[in-house]
Symmetry: C2
Subunit: 291 residues, 2 copies
């Protein structure tokens, strides 16, 4: 059993991007610039955005963090995005979701210039991904594909089960794994809340992407010997033994599942860091496409 070390691979990718950014500086060119918009005071959102801004600093990208009060109006937020779209220095824009209830996520995403949509949430980027055209692939699925690529995991002709059909993880993963690319060419079954016999489907699969957000959902009896397991879940579970009062749990019962696997991602340190690396890569690409 080999751990898919997202922390390590993410660092490699970021080191590479750091060199690329330094090369731009030495050529007298502008560096990539990510603008992150955070609305309100959601703790998890704050953690995510902070990590993204920190990653920019680490690798020599410029970042701007716009903090807005959760009373901000939709029209005000739209006008801020309009300004970021028009700002020649800004290459990538991300608006941390979820937004307060009085603001439509959809309208906000549609307002972002697709060529700056480094989160890959705009329909035109989703559509291009489906059609196999160059696009921004949203950070979590993109990060998972980079991880699979790094470890040279064979995917062609393999049976893959994707559990969870969210627009930001499950659905795009099902698409990316089934396209005629490397990695890709899996026979993918997309599973969700209406799926019957999920246990059997998983037990027949060579690759399982668990992205349903239920701590320790995937048990050993659902996994076949030698399977590749990617755990996208990350849930805070109360834990009195921790200083923080909680532990982070994935969707996979790691202790019992890992001995059966050929490859498995840990939580934390698996998919999470890859998401950040993929976002940085997208931001660099956004700038590069201008040249």
């Amino acid at each position: 059993m080999q751990i898919l070390d997202g922390q390590f691979v993410s660092r490699l990718i970021k080191e590479r991007l750091k060199m690329d950014a330094a090369a731009l500086v030495s050529e007298g060119k502008k560096i990539p610039h990510l603008a992150a918009v955070l609305v309100g005071n959601n703790g998890a959102s704050e953690t995510y955005v902070t990590a993204k801004v920190k990653a920019c600093a680490e690798i020599g990208f410029k970042s701007t963090m716009l903090r807005l009060d959760d009373s901000v109006s939709e029209s005000k937020l739209l006008s801020i995005i309009e300004d970021l779209n028009g700002d020649m220095d800004v290459d990538g824009i991300l608006v941390q979701l979820p937004l307060p209830k009085h603001i439509s996520d959809e309208r906000i995403i549609l307002a972002i210039d697709p060529s700056k949509d480094v989160d890959g949430f705009h329909p035109v980027n989703v559509g291009k991904m489906v059609l196999g055209s160059p696009s921004f692939i949203s950070a979590t699925p993109h990060g998972i594909m980079l991880l699979i690529e790094h470890y040279k995991i064979k995917t062609a002709g393999k049976k893959a089960a994707v559990i969870g059909r969210s627009n930001i993880v499950g659905r795009p993963m099902s698409i990316l794994l089934s396209t005629n690319t490397t990695p890709g060419n899996c026979t993918v079954t997309l599973c969700h809340s209406h799926t019957h016999n999920l246990k059997d489907i998983c037990a027949e699969s060579d690759i399982i992407i668990a992205a349903l957000g239920k701590p320790e959902f995937l048990r050993a009896d659902m996994v076949k010997e030698g399977a590749v397991i990617i755990d996208v879940g990350i849930t805070r579970v109360p834990d009195a033994t921790k200083k923080s009062g909680f532990a982070l749990k994935g969707d996979v019962a790691f202790a019992e599942v890992s001995p059966k696997c050929s490859f498995i991602t840990p939580v934390p340190g698996g998919v999470g860091p890859m998401t950040i690396a993929a976002l940085m890569k997208n931001t660099f690409t956004a700038l590069k496409r201008k040249y």
Copy 2:
């Protein structure tokens, strides 16, 4: 075993659209207007475009057919599309594919105003379909969903195998059948040229969408009792007994498969007519969205 009579359901849909168009006339409003662009002299393309224009006439829609020589330049075609985009009277634009080799299908599709893209090929429409936002769903998958809906076929929790991952049929079918809608909520496995054990996957499926373009590929031993079979294939096979010299064959060996099915589409008269009906529906929607 019940035949899914695409001819009949298509006629119902068209009758309804005819009444809707007549209502627009009586209200003094403009009627839907489809502009179809045909480049070159491909026999099949000519047949398809003619059928679409004829359907418009039948139901009281306006249509314009633009025939262009296959020597037309890409830039000329782009400027024609620009004109159609700007023409307030035109609601829907379709450019019959494939185009001559010197023209990029992708560039042409990207040039069509997404709000007039009644073929649903523009990335923004594909992306919106994935995200579950209102969009134009491309005519063949849309037609199949309308057929399933008409016959009230239960899909939630059913296992569906989609064979073929083309951008215009297999891929969107796999997405539509797996979304949280009615019809929908299937557990979909998308199969393709790299799939192993296709026979087993099919034999376990409640619903099979055969969209690979291989005449009579799906045999009785690949189908379980009571399955629902949708045959998207339509291939001309030489047949000396026919006046035309050829017969139209689907991807399903109808004679041996149909006795095992609960529902099955014939070829011709199944998916084909539904494609036209769906295109007409999209054209009507394109106009309606302007009001």
